[in-house]
């Protein structure tokens, strides 16, 4: 524990709140039309089918209305955004060759430290392109592919085309259509049959230029019997102008495979974060989403598992922290589409300083999903009288032989718990933070150690000055 505390002391708050002067090679003009989409495609030297696909998706995006539910998107002006910013020309594999300004950013985020800890691979995304990419030799030898999404398309065009848009088609929702039209950056991961990647693959995403939209697109394919843990951490510098992030993550979990996708979302509190994350889980496969949302102005994110094969299992651990001016509209979806499928959603949310956190979930059990089992547990803490907590779970059942359970509770930090802790010499702030740490513990304990430390520290930062 003392080692962890030392690490904690080393992280100062400013670390997550800084900006670099803008440096980029190409920046598209503001707004979005077929010309901008064409420019993005041309810059990426893409095959014709992708270019056409982008343009079709753009039409779909223009045709679909904005969602009428969820967070308030009034402040989001889709015409006042840069849709593509290319920071440097080349993808880097050697840390020393990375430009100083960008490196500084990552240094403060602690990527080299992660590297030192023998993590499986590091892909860091600075604005819209992967600038740093490294993967341990042994994984490469096993046939594991861990590339930027652009490289994935270039080096493995057939594999890419086989899966792109199959889990999240661009017709799915307005922002999936937008992402398909302007996607840039993200990861392409393929794990060959029966390969188990022991250490987590990691990617950091960062936004720097004000008013750029970041549209990462990731595809993860876990072939039969394979296993992988992918970690995505996001932090963003503070800006006064609203930024927009809208990613699409597609995951294919083949027979007997196991994938865990961990997100720590800490965008600065002016970012709109509208993300579509979905996994197609085949026979006996397991998909686990570990999703924590601390930052952003408004987030709409509901990672989903489509349990399409018998005995497939979906699991979702979700945490949301909504502070001043924040609206965290998060949750998860479990669609049981085959027999003997099982799922579990555990959600923890905290609202403070007038923030609003909402859990929105769906458990759908299809007629075919005989003997499906699903469980949803939502717990919410409200820390003051100005804040708000909402729970909107949907349960739709079409099968006979099922077992579905849902429970939710909303409460404040118990006076008795606070009294006990303060009587042991803790300040009220320390006591509240401790109760919250305990509250989110089921999620934190599933994170890799460095992330668990970072997460606890972020919660502490959020709680500073909370009581007084």
């Amino acid at each position: 524990m003392s080692e962890q505390e030392d690490v904690l002391r080393g992280i100062e708050p400013q670390r997550y709140d800084f900006k670099d002067p803008e440096k980029y090679v190409f920046k598209s003009r503001k707004g979005l039309d077929a010309e901008v989409v064409g420019q993005i495609s041309a810059h990426k030297e893409e095959p014709q089918w992708m270019r056409e696909n982008r343009l079709k998706a753009l039409q779909q995006f223009n045709a679909m209305p904005m969602p009428s539910w969820g967070v308030d998107l009034q402040g989001l002006d889709l015409d006042d955004l840069y849709y593509y910013v290319k920071p440097t020309d080349e993808i880097q594999n050697d840390w020393d060759e990375i430009p100083e300004a960008i490196k500084n950013t990552f240094n403060r985020l602690g990527i080299p430290e992660a590297e030192q800890k023998f993590l499986a691979g590091v892909g860091a995304q600075y604005e819209s392109e992967m600038v740093y990419h490294n993967i341990q030799k042994q994984l490469e030898n096993q046939g594991v592919i861990f590339l930027s999404i652009e490289e994935g398309l270039r080096q493995h065009p057939d594999l890419f085309k086989q899966y792109f848009g199959t889990v999240v088609p661009f017709t799915d929702n307005k922002f999936a259509a937008l992402n398909t039209a302007v996607w840039s950056g993200g990861s392409f991961v393929y794990i060959p049959p029966f390969v188990k990647v022991e250490l987590p693959l990691q990617a950091y995403f960062r936004l720097n230029t004000a008013s750029i939209g970041q549209f990462e697109r990731s595809i993860i394919i876990a072939d039969e019997g394979s296993q992988v843990h992918y970690v995505e951490g996001c932090t963003a510098p503070q800006y006064s102008k609203n930024s927009f992030h809208s990613g699409v993550i597609e995951i294919i979990v083949k027979k007997g495979a196991r994938v865990r996708y961990t997100t720590i979302q800490n965008w600065s509190t002016n970012v709109y974060n509208l993300v579509t994350q979905r996994a197609m889980v085949h026979e006996e496969g397991t998909m686990e989403w570990v999703d924590s949302n601390l930052g952003s102005k408004a987030t709409m994110k509901y990672p989903a598992c489509y349990l399409v094969g018998p005995h497939a299992h979906g699991e979702m651990l979700s945490m949301a922290f909504a502070g001043r001016g924040q609206d965290q509209d998060t949750g998860g979806k479990m669609l049981h589409l085959a027999e003997d499928t099982t799922s579990k959603i555990t959600s923890k949310s905290i609202s403070k300083d007038g923030g609003r956190s909402s859990f929105r979930g769906l458990v759908y059990v299809d007629k075919k999903a005989e003997s499906a089992k699903a469980k949803v547990v939502c717990d919410a803490l409200i820390l003051d009288g100005k804040s708000r907590s909402d729970t909107y779970p949907h349960i739709e059942n079409r099968a006979e032989n099922v077992s579905i359970g849902h429970e939710a509770s909303v409460s404040k930090v118990g006076e008795e718990q606070l009294f006990y802790l303060t009587s042991r010499g803790l300040s009220e702030e320390e006591a509240t933070t401790m109760v919250i740490s305990g509250f989110i513990e089921p999620l934190v304990k599933e994170l890799p150690m460095e992330y668990a430390v970072e997460m606890n520290r972020l919660i502490q930062l959020q709680m500073e000055g909370a009581v007084g």
């Binding site: 979806k333 299809d366 409200i382 804040s387 909402d390 349960i395 579905i404 939710a408 909303v410």
Partner: protein, 446 residues
């Protein structure tokens, strides 16, 4: 590979308006306030389109199959029945309860009211000059559930021409339960209705309200409003038994306002209509008010039930506890959508909602959508939902004790239903519901 969660709903044709709407002319009653209300409701009704998928609160509700052109309104005439006509239940329970009835047919409305002098109870139709309701009570009609809420609510106010009012004066405690039957008589009858239950300070009553069709094969359309106001310290036990025919379409909108320390115990039984859209809202406005709400719904065959419940905590120290239990069979569809809302002012609110569903058939569809909207911190709110089938282990246990398959299932279902019945506080009423309704439904269901 399935890409979408939405269940396809047949493309619905625009609904035809009821044939009587254009030619309808309200007959002025003796109360100008009610005449105004009716005129406004009629205007609202005519201006609103039929709700569809996109109308708020009507998600997934399809009105397809509602043959609006076939229905006729009852005449506006009102008659009092001189004697108690022996309807089976009313006769059987006449000794234990104050029994009263209203028969709605194409000929008009007939009411039968027992001797209630000296009880502090006023009961009857608002348009009946013989029943002298205090003016401020009559003024409440249309104030609790606004006529503009939706098209079917406006229908009730626009076409009913009269309201059924149940008023209990201050400090009055009714010892015997009131058993009130509303009988819809005749095929293709449209039944608009509005009912007001008003309990003055510290009064207390138990009311059983049963709505039935005269013939189970009759196709009827009913759209009604139930307004309930409980003044400070008032206590109401309300049993709402919906027994209209399986050919019928039923739309009901209910709202209860609870003042300081008022208590509502409500039990709703929904089993017979072919289509039911039921909305229930409890506004816990006064400090320390309390609402215990129980629903039991038993859809089978092709029945479709859509239920919305709202527990609104507006005052301090308010308590609500809702439990909806459903047993679904056949190709039935049911959807329960619940919401607990806690206002920033509602400190120390305690809200609970539970929905338990037992599925007996593989063709039944069930949706459960609980919800919490909490705007303050000093609260305790939670909800729970389960969807299960008959537990094979329970069945095995029963079989091993010599109770074979079908009987075993009956026993498990009875046990499941009993948990809802246990929430009816009065023993005699619990027994009546169990005997008169549940046992019968059980027989037809299994």
């Amino acid at each position: 590979m399935k890409q979408t969660t939405s269940v396809p709903i047949e493309a619905s044709k625009p609904m035809n308006e009821f044939s009587f709407v254009d030619s309808f002319v309200p007959v002025p009653g003796h109360l100008s306030f009610l005449n105004d209300l009716q005129a406004r409701a009629l205007e609202t009704y005519r201006s609103l389109p039929f709700p569809d998928e996109t109308t708020s609160g009507w998600h997934k509700v399809s009105l397809q199959g509602l043959s609006s052109q076939s229905y006729h309104l009852p005449a506006t005439s009102i008659a009092c029945e001189p004697e108690r006509v022996g309807v089976e239940l009313a006769t059987k329970y006449a000794k234990q309860m104050l029994c009263c009835r209203q028969i709605v047919s194409q000929q008009g409305r007939r009411v039968n009211v027992p001797a209630i002098q000296g009880t502090g109870l006023s009961f009857g139709l608002s348009s009946d000059p013989a029943v002298a309701f205090p003016e401020k009570i009559i003024q409440k009609i249309g104030q609790i559930v606004p006529a503009v809420s939706d098209k079917f609510t406006a229908f009730g106010y626009a076409f009913a021409s009269t309201s059924t009012v149940f008023y209990l004066a201050e400090d009055q405690v009714l010892k015997a339960p009131v058993f009130y039957q509303e009988i819809q008589q005749g095929n293709h009858l449209a039944v608009p209705s509005t009912t007001l239950i008003y309990l003055a300070r510290n009064s207390s009553a138990t009311l059983v309200r049963q709505r039935i069709s005269d013939d189970p094969s009759h196709d009827q359309f009913s759209a009604g409003v139930l307004e309930v106001h409980l003044e400070e310290g008032a206590h109401l036990d309300l049993l709402d038994l919906n027994g209209v025919s399986s050919q019928s379409w039923d739309f009901q909108n209910q709202k209860v306002i609870l003042e300081k320390d008022a208590v509502l115990n409500e039990f709703t039984l929904l089993h017979s209509p072919g289509f039911s859209k039921y909305r229930m809202q409890a506004d816990l406005a006064g400090k320390g008010s309390q609402a215990n709400i129980t629903g039991l719904f038993l859809p089978a065959g092709k029945q479709r039930f859509y239920m919305d419940t709202h527990q609104n905590h507006l005052g301090e120290n308010t308590v609500s506890d809702l439990q909806y239990r459903g047993v679904m069979d056949g190709e039935s569809q049911s959807r329960w959508e619940g919401m607990i809302y806690v206002d920033p002012k509602a400190l120390r609110a305690d809200g609970y909602q539970a929905n338990h569903n037992l599925i007996l058939s593989r063709s039944a569809k069930v949706d459960a959508i609980p919800g919490l909207e909490i705007l303050t911190d000093d609260v305790r709110c939670s909800h729970g939902v389960t969807v299960t089938n008959i537990d094979p282990e329970q069945q095995f246990y029963l079989t091993s004790r010599g109770i074979p398959g079908k009987e075993g299932v009956e026993l498990i279902v009875s046990g499941f239903i009993q948990k809802a019945l246990d929430r009816v506080s009065l023993d005699s009423l619990r027994q009546m519901i169990a005997e008169e309704f549940i046992s019968r439904i059980n027989k037809t269901m299994l």
